[in-house]
Amino acid sequence: MEITLELNGTSRTLKCQPHETLLTVLRREGMVSVRFGSTSGETGASAVLLDGLLASTEVVLAAQANGRSVTTVESLNVDDGLHPIQAAFAATGAMQSGYSTPAMVLGALALLAENSNPDEEAIRDMLSGILDRETAYVKPVAAVQQAAAVLRGEQAEPFRPLLVAPMTDGVHAVEIDPTDEAPEASPAVPRVVPSREVPKTSVVGHPEVKVDALRLVKGNPAFTDDFEMRNLLHAKVLRSPHAHARIVSIDDSAARALPGVHAVIHHGNVARIKYASGGQSYPNPKPYDQVSFDDKVRHVGDRVAAVAADSVEIAQEACRLIDVTYDVLPAVFDEREAIRPGAPIIHDEADTADIADAGRNVVHRMTAQRGDVEAAFEKADHYYEQTFRVHQVQQCPIEPHISVAWLDSDQRLVVRTATQVPFHTRRMLAPLVGMNIKDIRIIKPRIGGGFGAKQEMLLEDIVGHLAIATRQPVRLELTREEEFASSRTRHPQTMTYRTGVNSDGTLVAQELKLLGNTGPYGTHGYTVQTVAGLRGLTSYNAPNKRFDCEVAYTNIPVPGAYRGYGAPQALFGLESHMEDIADDLKIDPIEFRRQNWTKTGDEMNIAPHLGEQGVLEEELDEYPTVNSDGIEECVAQGARAIGWHRRTDRSWREPADQPHIRRGVGYAHSMHGTAIPYLDMGGCSIKLNDDGSFNMLVGATDLGTGADTVLGQIAAEVLGVPLDDIRVYSSDTDMTPFDTGAYASSTTYISGTAAMRAAEVVRKRLKERAAMLLGIEIPCSIELRDRRAWAPDGRSVSLEEIALDSLHLNEQEQIMGTGSYVSPDCPPPFGATFVEIELDTETGQVTVHHMVMSVDCGVAINPVTASGQVEGGMLQALGYAHCEEFALDEAGRMENAAFGPYWIYRADEMPRTDVFLVQTMEDSGPFGAKAVAEIPKDGVAPAIRNAIVNATGVRIDQLPFTPERVFNALHAS
C-alpha cells in the first residue's frame, strides 16, 4: 500500500505493508534517529512528533500516519550547527549513550512550542515516556530549562561545576551544624569539592562537551542498526518454552521450505564447540559449559535454533514451523534448593570439564582467608550472624542487543555489534565459527547502553554462523521480551555475614559465606562472586577474614555482568549488617563504621586472595594499601545535604498530622575498586595530522559513559591542545589497539593511562621537532600549550608548523605514539550514600524523596560526565532496591518480561538526586583519577534499608522493598 505523509515539512508518498510500523518505515527512509526500544513503545526511543505530539512509533502502523505530519529530529539538522535545544543537550551533558536523545529533543521541541517557560513538573511529564537508564533524567531536565531560556531570548548560564568548600581537613570527622545547608544549586550542576593537592590543568577537570555530542544530538547514524547493508537478511532465534528439557528431535524441513528462508541452524548442523560466553580476558574462566546450540535447554528462552530469512516476519514464521520434540525435565530456580540432594542435575553432559560438583549443581567453590576467624569469634565480646537474600534484576539498556555480520571482499567475517568487549569477542568467536582470529573483524559503533549486559558474546556467534552459511549479511536484534529472557541479569545470592566485634566497636573478625546463583551457565559466575567477596570483606579492617563461597547452577534466565559486578549484592548485606551491629552496640552508625573502615595507609587485606589471579597468604610479600581516600569529606558533605540530624528528630520522623506515615534517613558506606590489577589492559595510538590536530585510536569501549571524551581530554592535556583537536575513534579490532573492554571501572584509569602514555610519546617527538625548528639543543625544555611548542626564551612554533615540516618538508616522518597500560594497583574510590524515605505503615509503600551521594573518584577528568555516571548509577541502584525484580512462575517463565510490569524509574517520579565529587589526588591514576562508574550502584539499597530501620525500627534483609514485603515485615514485627 501507499501512504502520503508530511515528513519533516515535505510531502512524501511511501510504500509500506499493512503490518509495518511507522518506526520501520521511517528508518527505511533514512530517519535513523528514530530507534527501537520495545515493541510496546514504553521506552520512547522511537518517539517522533505525530501531528506535533510526541508519540512512540513502535505502536503506530505506518498506515495510521497516512495524511498526517511526522517530525523527526532530522528536521532540525538544516546545517552544521545545532538547534538551541540540541545545543543545550550537548552543553549540559544531558546525553550519555544518546540512543534516546533525539526523542527527548523532539519532546522538548513540542513542549516549548506550547509553553515557553515550563516548570520542572511539565518537563518531567514530557520526559515520562522516554525511559533512560543513564542520566537519571537530571541533566535532561536542565537541558530543557536551558533551551527554554535561550529560546526566550535570555542569556544562557554557562554550565559549569559549582565549587563547594571542603568541610573537613580530609582526615578528621567534623560536627555538622544542623542549621548549615549545602550550597543551593540545580541538582544537574556537578558539585566539586576541590583538593589543594590537585595541580591546575587546562583540559582535564573541565566540563568539556562530549566528543560524540554532535552525532548523538543530531540523531546521525551512529549505532549498530543505523548503517544499511545490501541484501541484508534478518535472523530470529527459536527459544525454549521450557526451563529444563532435552531436545529429542528437531524437524526443520517445513522451515527450510518456507519461501524467503535462507538458513536454519541448530545443534544438528552446528559444530559442538565448548565455550563460556562472558567477555573476559584470556584464558576465560572455566568451565566452558556452553555451545552455540545444544541438545539440551536449561532455561526458558534458551537457544534452540536460528533462522535467516528475507524479513523478520518470515524468520519468525520459520521459527514457528520448526518442529521440536522435548523431553521436559524437572527444573530448579532457587540456589539453596539447587544444591540439595535430589535436585535435578543441570549439567549432566560428559564434555564439560571443571565443574566443581556437577552432581550437586555446584559450578564453583572458593575460599579465601586471612587469620583465623573462628578463634577470633570465640574471643570477641560480641558475635553477630545475619543472612540476606538478593534477587535477580536486569541491566535494561534501551538499545537491545543487536549484531550484524557479513563476509567482506576478502571473505573475512565482519561483525558490527553492540558490545563492550570487541577484542574478547573476536578471540572467543574464532573457534566457534571455525575461523582464525586474523580473519575476524569486530566493529563497535556507538552503543545504546550496556551496563555489563554487553560484556558478553551473546549474538555474535549466531550471526556469524548465519552469515557464513548464507554468504549474505545477517542482522539479529533482540525484542524486549528476548532481552529479558535470554540476555544477562544480576546474580541472585544468599549471603551470611558473621562478625566478631569488641565492646568498644572494633571489628576483630568478619566472614562472608556466599551462595551465588549463576543460572544455567557459569558465565561470570566465578568472578562476580569473587568481587562480592572482595567488596564485602575489604571495606572494613579486621585482622581475621574469611570468604567461603559456592556457586550454584539453576534454571533461571542467565545472570552475568551487571555494573557493580557483585558489589551491590555484597554491600547491601554488609552495610545492613554493620547498621544493625551499631544499633545493638548503641554506637552511632557512622561512628561505628568510621572506627573500622579501610582508609589511607590501611591494607586491603583479603583482596589479593580473591579474583581471577588470587594468591595464597604464604605466597604474598605484602598486601596492597589504600593510597588516597576522601571518605570523611564525603560523609560530611552528604550528611549536611540530606539533613542527617533529622534521624533523631521524632517530630519529623512521626508527623503528627499523618499517623500512618513514618520518615527516616539512612546511610551506607561504599568502597569500590578501580580495574583489575595485572589483568585489565588498555592500548592507545595517537598520530599527528597536517593541521596540528591528532587522530587518537583507542580500543576502549565507550558505552555512552563519555570514555572517548575523557581519554581525549587526557591526551589533549598532555599535548597542550584543546579537546577539539583530538579526534577519538573507538573501537575496531582491525584498526584500534587492544583493550580488554569497558568493565570493572577500568577505562579512565587503565585506558586513560594508556592514552597519557601514547600522548607522552608524541609530545616527546613534538618537542624534538620543535627544537630542530627553533634551534634549541635541549628539547625537554620546550613546553606544549595553546597548540604551540614554546621555548624557554619565549619563541614558539605551532603544532601545525611542526606537522607540515615533519610530514612534507624535512626528514619526513609520521609523528605518532602508542601507549598501553596494565596496573599493579586497584585504588579504591569511596562513597557516602544518604537517602530520605517516607513509609506508609498501613500499606508498606516506601517513597524515596531524596538521594545524595558524595564520591571520592580522585580527580574527575570531566566533572559533568562523572556526575552523570553517578546519577545514572543511582537510578539503577534505586530500581534494584525498590521496584525491579524478575518474577518467574513455577515453570520458570518470566511473568513480567516487559517494561511496566518490570518497572524502571521514570522522569516524573525520580527523587531529587544530588551528587558531590570530592577530589583526592590518586598518584597512580592519570592526572589523579580513580574510578566512578560502578560505585554509585553500591550504597542506595542499604541506605534505603537503613532509612526504613530509622523510620520504623524494622530490619528487612531481602530486596526489593516492594509494598507487600515491607508491609509483611512491619506486621510480623
Binding site: 500500500m1 499493512p18 503490518h19 510500523t21 515493541t39 510496546s40 513503545g41 514504553e42 520512547g44 518517539a47 505525530l50 505530539l53 510526541l54 508519540a55 512512540s56 513502535e58 505502536v59 503506530v60 502502523l61 498506515a63 495510521q64 497516512n66 526523542a103 519532546g107 511529564d125 514530557m126 520526559l127 515520562s128 515516556g129 522516554i130 516476519e313 519468525q316 514464521e317 514457528r320 525484542t479 521480551e481 506508609d840 498501613e842 500499606t843 508498606g844 509503600q845 517513597t847 525498590h882 521496584c883 525484580e885 518474577a887 511473568e895 513480567n896 511496566g900 518497572w903 524509574y905 521514570r906 516524573d908 517520579e909 516492594t962 509494598p963 507487600e964 508491609f967
Partner: protein, 244 residues
C-alpha cells in the same frame, strides 16, 4: 503485534460497521493492539477518520468522543480534574498521545485508574452496532465486554463532585497495585477500585471488599490486595468528605 494483512480507514460509522461485520477488528490508538505480539493475521479498521474525538458538555454531562486521546483528556479544562489527572497517570507522554478513551474502555485493564475515574463519574458508554445505537453503563460493559460487531462511539460522564484517588504502588508513577477512587455528590458516594478484579469495579464504600476475590501476582497477593482495598477506600472516601 497481530499481523495486519489489510488496513481500512472508513470515513463513516456505517462503513466501519460493515467492515467489522466482515471479521475486521477495530484499531483505535494502537497502544494495546499494535503492542500485542500475537502473530494471528488480521484485517484492521482504523477509526481515526470517524470524527469521534470531540469533547463536549451537555447540561450536567460531559461527552468524550471515543477517539479522544488521553492527552486530549488530560489537557481539556472541561473535564473534572480527577478524570484529567487519571488520564495523565494512565500512560506516559509518548503513549498518552495515541491511546484513546474508547480503546481504554475496550481494553478493560484491571489496573486502569482512568476507568476507575470514569466509573465514579457514572460513565455510560455509547455503542453502535448492527442493530443500531445503544447506551451501556460502564460497569456493565466492563463486565460483559463490547457487543460483537459494535463500536464504542463515546463515553458520557456525570459532572459535579470531584474525584480523589488513593493508591499503593511500587513507585510513585507505577500503575497501582490497588487504587481506590472516590467521588462524593449530593446523591451519594461512589468508589471504584482497581487491582482487585478482572477490571476496575465499583464497590460499596463501607464494605469495599464484599464480593471481591482478587487473584494475586508478584506485585501483591490476594489478601494484601483486599487489605489495600479497605485502607485505600477509607482514605479516598475521607478525602472527598464521604461517609466512611
Amino acid at each position: 503485534m497481530p499481523r495486519a494483512i489489510a488496513y481500512h480507514r472508513p470515513s463513516t460509522v456505517a462503513e466501519a460497521l460493515d467492515l467489522l461485520g466482515n471479521g475486521c477488528i477495530p484499531l483505535a490508538g494502537g497502544t494495546v493492539l499494535n503492542a500485542d505480539d500475537d502473530p494471528t493475521p488480521v484485517s484492521m479498521v482504523d477509526l481515526q477518520a470517524l470524527n469521534l474525538s470531540d469533547i463536549a458538555t451537555n447540561d450536567d454531562e460531559l461527552r468524550l468522543g471515543a477517539m479522544a486521546t488521553l492527552h486530549d483528556l488530560a489537557t481539556n479544562h472541561q473535564l473534572p480534574s480527577g478524570v484529567a489527572e487519571a488520564a495523565r497517570a494512565e500512560l506516559p507522554s509518548t503513549l498518552r498521545t495515541l491511546a484513546t478513551v474508547g480503546g481504554t474502555v475496550a481494553a478493560r485493564n484491571a489496573d486502569s485508574v482512568l476507568l476507575a475515574a470514569l466509573l465514579v463519574h457514572e460513565a455510560a458508554v455509547e455503542v453502535v452496532g448492527p442493530g443500531g445505537s445503544t447506551t451501556i453503563t460502564l460497569p456493565h460493559l466492563l463486565s460483559e465486554g463490547i457487543p460483537e460487531g459494535s463500536l464504542i462511539t463515546a463515553v458520557r460522564i456525570a459532572l459535579g463532585g470531584e474525584s480523589v484517588r488513593r493508591s499503593t504502588a511500587r513507585t510513585p508513577a507505577d500503575q497501582p497495585i490497588v487504587s481506590a477512587t472516590a467521588r462524593q455528590t449530593q446523591d451519594g458516594t461512589w468508589v471504584a477500585v482497581t487491582g482487585v478484579a478482572d477490571h476496575p469495579v465499583l464497590v460499596d464504600p463501607e464494605n469495599p471488599t464484599v464480593g471481591l476475590n482478587p487473584s494475586g501476582d508478584f506485585r501483591g497477593s490476594r489478601d494484601y490486595r483486599c487489605r489495600l482495598a479497605e485502607v485505600l477506600t477509607a482514605r479516598a472516601v475521607a478525602a472527598v468528605g464521604g461517609i466512611a
